[in-house]
């Protein structure tokens, strides 16, 4: 495996881990549901996406055969993550969850 590939894999892992870390910090730090929702969605899409891409590159380079498992996982994640975020947001609106000042608008009043 060439240095370039190793570098690429490392970079992808770092990107993925970084997004996951940012998402996790966001989950802890952000003040209300509506903003907090952004944290885990970043982590599942970009964070896991980065790591999966790294896995794809690594196994393709190692075995010489295009590894497609990861693509399938990514596909499922990209389909399901927005849906669950959407449902969470809808529920929060229905429950009229408290919001902080900087979150604009009161969507349930529309």
């Amino acid at each position: 495996m060439s240095v370039w590939v190793e570098g690429l894999v490392a970079a992808l892992i770092l990107i993925g881990a970084g997004f996951t870390l940012v998402g996790s910090i966001g989950l802890v730090r952000l003040q209300d549901v509506y903003t907090r929702l952004h944290g885990p969605t970043k982590a599942t899409t970009l964070g896991v996406g980065g790591i999966i891409l790294a896995s794809l590159v690594f196994f393709t380079a190692q075995t010489g055969v295009l590894s497609v498992h990861e693509v399938l996982i990514t596909l499922f994640l990209f389909i399901t993550a927005p849906v669950s975020a959407h449902l969470l947001a809808k529920t929060a609106m229905h429950r009229q969850e408290k919001k902080v000042q900087s979150t604009r608008g009161e969507p349930w009043q529309q």
């Binding site: 499922f76 927005p82 849906v83 229905h94």
Partner: protein, 931 residues
């Protein structure tokens, strides 16, 4: 001897017919019922020369359960022949009578079916050549009698009477079974002939008193002997043909038949004498006394039956050979006159609408023919000369008069016998005089009764003619039959007796005379007796019985509520308790938990996962009131378990665990939706300690057990599976090969259980009236909007992909992780997602949603796959496999086990959806009603 089988089995097989031809009219039903009986009767008469004249013993046997000593064995000796004649002959007459007796609205098919069933059971009792077989038929008579007494199931009296009869005769039947088993164990055979020949062995056995008492319990309950007599009067709620047939002529005679049958084996001891004769004497007197005061015609006849059965029992108890002959003779006579009297009572009831003697009178003007018949039969019952009753009563008096066994109380038996005779004359007189003579009550004048149809009277006429014929020409008419039956009863030589009408002026004749005059006197001056009887304390038998039954029900109810108070916790804890105790016992008995095998080194990741699982499990308990959080916590445990499976190289288990986890969460979400949010009762301190004890002992026990199993060396079965998986089962995935091949029978059982459980849950949810919550636990109304569009659209896109994955996992299962179970769960989850996203109606409009046949089809497919190997000459569920080459696809394998796996797959899909869709539908229906 096939004739024997035909005689017993004809009515049994014919019992199916009346119901089948029910739609073809009442007459067809009656003819279809009567013909097999007539045929059986003719067959029986055909054996008369060999049985009665030559004294042959006809036998026929087929092994049934020879290991348990149960044989389908029949015998036809004189005694059995006599009873079979009574059963078939009177049965035929009762069928004719019953056809005219039943109302148009009564179900003739059901009635005649039950009657034939009873007839077959009764024939079985009298013809059995095997003690166990006898008990089987004995119980069958109890059950058919129960059904016949309760024939008019709309009446409370009929139901209560039927229940009482079943309880008593059923309990007696159990006692009889115990007695018969004791006898069989003593003798070493259940063969009747062997038992009868081993009388001395039985009588000298230490357990003889127990055997005798148990058998007598069966006899006395069946033949309504004191103190079990009270069920018989209440059995009179049955239609009159049933009373005439079962409760006077045949079934109640089963008890005395047993006395006769076991006479050579059990009789001849002091205990027999004391028990049987004293019970018989008490019953004889009590029955006669009570009969005198009954106002109900059938009640009078019922008590009279009890009294006459007491007489027969007393005769058997007297233990002389002549007394036994007299007893058999009286069985014949009582059956003929009492059946005809019941039929006459039925005619009176049928024509006037009442059976109350106080409301009847002067019927001779309207029913002269019936009157003549009833009078002759009553005279036979009273023991008037020239009728059959006189002859056997005379023999009875003769036997009573020279009873030597009571010592200084020798005068007691003849005196009491004479008193019973007087009472018998008095109630016979009352039956005739109060009904047919005297003034006509006003109600009857208004609706003048008329004679019933000619054919309804024919059975009565036949029986009354027999009474006369036996009474006038006893030796010719009944001589050979009595001789054969008595010989079979005694099991040896007959004593000297003569069946003449006139024996000269002797003690029995004087007793008869005294009974006749005394009886007339009692009837004439009955008013003071009635007054006395009214002041008599009368224990109300049904009330006492009902109280006893209620008390028993209450005790049973308390016991059940103790075990199962309706809360699942209590119920499950009873199931878990034995497991916990076994675990504790195992822990105590094997201290060497750690074996020789070294433990796997632990790594940081495993420790971390374990800690998370433990914390999540604890959090589930602590946060149980926040249901959603608790659910999340418990699914964390499930996920970590499936990760553990993955790490320990069990991908099949991991996949299964994962899909089960998803289904469980969905199920719990649905269930929690219905849980009330308020008024939750906290567990008591005791409940919590119990739960803690159970979970600790089972959890620690299972852990130690696993430790023990994995650290101790030793041959395990797994090497066999691993070695034979490919050569034997044709699959590289050992887990799957075990499931579908090595242990295929287990799997078949499991999916059957799954199917049954699904059907059970479905049935429980059917018509379940649940309060649909309008507010969530925090008091906010539930959202009313439809499922979000995004979810709908995405889930529809996911469905084909998920199904494809499921198919892939199903097909590859034999060689790689997967298989029917996992694939079924994935399919179910994919479909359930459609329910969640788009609603029940949307899905049911597009997907066939009748899951019952699907479940059945799955089980059938798996079962048929197994049967296919049976057809090819291999054991059940043998699998076969073949490698096939296809262009493009290449080499692949086809195994019959895959078809089996497909059955598993279909069952799992069907069962899961059957449950989830049903539970989900509950909410939909009500929500729409709410809107």
């Amino acid at each position: 001897m096939s004739v024997l089988f035909a005689i017993v089995l004809l009515p049994l097989i014919a019992a199916l017919l009346p119901r089948l031809v029910q739609s073809m009219g009442r007459s067809t039903v009656a003819i279809v019922t009567a013909l097999p009986v007539l045929l059986a009767l003719l067959l029986l008469l055909g054996t008369a020369p060999s049985v009665l004249v030559d004294g042959e013993l006809l036998q026929a046997a087929v092994p049934w359960l020879p290991q348990a000593g149960l044989m389908l064995a029949f015998r036809l000796d004189g005694l059995a022949w006599l009873f079979a004649l009574l059963i078939l002959g009177i049965g035929l007459l009762v069928i004719v009578y019953g056809h005219y007796y039943l109302e148009k609205s009564d179900s003739g098919g059901r009635f005649f079916s039950l009657l034939l069933l009873f007839m077959a059971a009764m024939l079985g009792v009298v013809c059995s050549d095997n003690l166990l077989l006898l008990v089987v038929f004995w119980e069958l008579t109890s059950i058919s009698s129960f059904l016949l007494i309760g024939y008019w199931s709309g009446q409370a009296a009929a139901r209560k009477g039927a229940r009482m009869a079943l309880t008593l005769t059923g309990a007696g039947g159990l006692a009889l079974l115990a007695g018969v088993i004791l006898i069989g164990q003593t003798v070493g055979s259940y063969d009747l002939g062997t038992v009868l020949a081993s009388g001395d062995l039985i009588r000298s056995h230490a357990l003889y008193p127990l055997m005798l008492v148990l058998v007598l319990l069966g006899v006395f309950t069946k033949s309504a002997q004191f103190p079990f007599h009270f069920w018989l009067p209440h059995a009179m709620s049955a239609p009159t043909p049933v009373s005439a047939y079962l409760h006077s002529a045949t079934m109640v005679k089963a008890g005395v038949f047993l006395l006769a049958r076991f006479y050579p084996a059990l009789a001849g001891t002091d205990l027999w004498f004391v028990l049987v004769s004293s019970i018989g004497l008490v019953t004889l007197l009590l029955g006669a006394w009570m009969a005198l005061f009954r106002h109900d015609l059938k009640g009078l006849l019922a008590y009279s039956t009890i009294s006459h059965l007491g007489l027969i029992t007393l005769l058997f108890g007297l233990s002389t050979r002549l007394a036994a002959v007299a007893a058999v003779f009286h069985v014949i006579n009582h059956a003929t006159f009492k059946a005809s009297l019941f039929m006459a009572a039925g005619i009176i009831d049928h024509e006037t609408g009442t059976r109350d003697i106080r409301k009847l009178g002067g019927l001779r003007r309207y029913l002269p023919h019936t009157m003549a018949l009833a009078t002759v039969a009553s005279m036979a019952m009273a023991g008037v000369p020239l009728l059959n009753g006189f002859l056997s009563k005379e023999m009875f008096f003769a036997e009573a008069a020279d009873t030597p066994l009571y010592g200084s109380l020798n005068w007691l038996v003849p005196t009491l016998a004479t008193i019973a005779g007087m009472l018998s004359v008095a109630y016979s007189l009352r039956f005739v005089h109060d009904v047919f003579f005297g003034p006509v009550p006003a109600a009857l004048v208004a609706h003048a009764p008329h004679e019933p149809r000619r054919l309804m009277r024919v059975p009565v006429e036949v029986l009354v003619l027999l009474c006369l014929a036996v009474g006038v020409f006893p030796a010719v008419v009944v001589g050979p039959l009595l001789a054969a039956a008595a010989t079979a009863t005694l099991g040896g030589e007959l004593p000297e007796y003569s069946l003449a009408i006139w024996h000269g002026l002797n003690v029995p004749f004087l007793m008869s005379l005294l009974a006749l005059t005394g009886g007339v006197a009692i009837y004439v001056w009955r008013a003071p007796l009635f007054a006395l009887q009214r002041r008599w304390p009368r224990p109300h038998a049904p009330a006492i019985f009902e109280q006893a039954v209620q008390a028993l029900v209450a005790v049973a109810g308390r016991f059940v509520r103790f075990i199962d108070n309706g809360a699942l916790q209590r119920y499950v804890s009873w199931l878990m308790l034995p497991v916990a105790l076994i675990m504790l016992a195992a822990m105590a008995s094997r201290p060497d938990w750690l074996g020789e095998h070294a433990l796997t080194p632990v790594d940081g990741l495993s420790i971390l996962a374990t800690i998370v699982a433990v914390l999540a499990a604890l959090a589930t308990v602590v946060l149980r009131r926040q249901r959603l959080v608790a659910l999340l916590m418990i699914s964390v445990v499930g996920l970590i378990v499936s990760l553990a499976f993955l790490r320990l190289s069990a991908p099949d288990l991991a996949l299964t665990q994962l899909s089960v986890e998803v289904v469980t969460v969905l199920l719990l979400m649905l269930a929690m939706y219905f849980l009330p949010s308020r008024g939750v009762i906290e567990s008591t301190w005791w409940d919590r300690s119990r739960d803690l004890f159970l979970s600790l002992s089972i959890g620690v026990g299972v852990g130690l057990l696993a430790l023990f199993a994995m650290t101790h060396p030793g041959a395990t079965i797994s090497t066999f599976f691993i070695d034979n998986s490919i050569p034997g089962g044709g699959g590289a995935n050992v887990v799957n090969v075990i499931l579908v091949d090595f242990r295929g029978f287990d799997t078949l059982g499991e999916i059957t259980v799954l199917a049954i459980a699904a059907a059970g849950i479905y049935a429980l949810l059917e018509n379940l009236g649940l309060c649909l919550p309008i507010y969530d636990p925090e008091g906010r109304p539930w959202a009313k909007d439809r499922s979000p569009l995004v979810l709908q659209m995405i889930s529809r896109a996911v469905l084909p992909i998920a199904l494809l994955v499921a198919m892939y996992i199903l097909v590859r299962g034999h060689n790689m992780p997967g298989g029917g179970f996992i694939a079924g769960l994935i399919t179910a989850v994919a479909l359930v997602l459609q329910y969640v996203a788009s609603g029940v109606h949307w899905v049911h409009a597009r997907v066939p949603h009748n899951y019952h046949p699907l479940v059945a089809f799955g089980v059938l497919l798996a079962g048929l796959t197994g049967l296919a190997s049976l057809l090819l000459g291999y054991p059940f569920l043998t699998s076969t496999f073949e490698y096939i080459y296809w262009p493009i696809v290449g080499k692949f394998e086809l195994a019959s086990a895959m078809l089996f796996d497909l059955g598993v797959y279909i069952t799992v899909v069907g069962a899961t959806l059957l449950i989830l869709a049903r539970l989900g539908k509950l909410s939909v229906v009500e929500q729409e009603e709410g809107n």
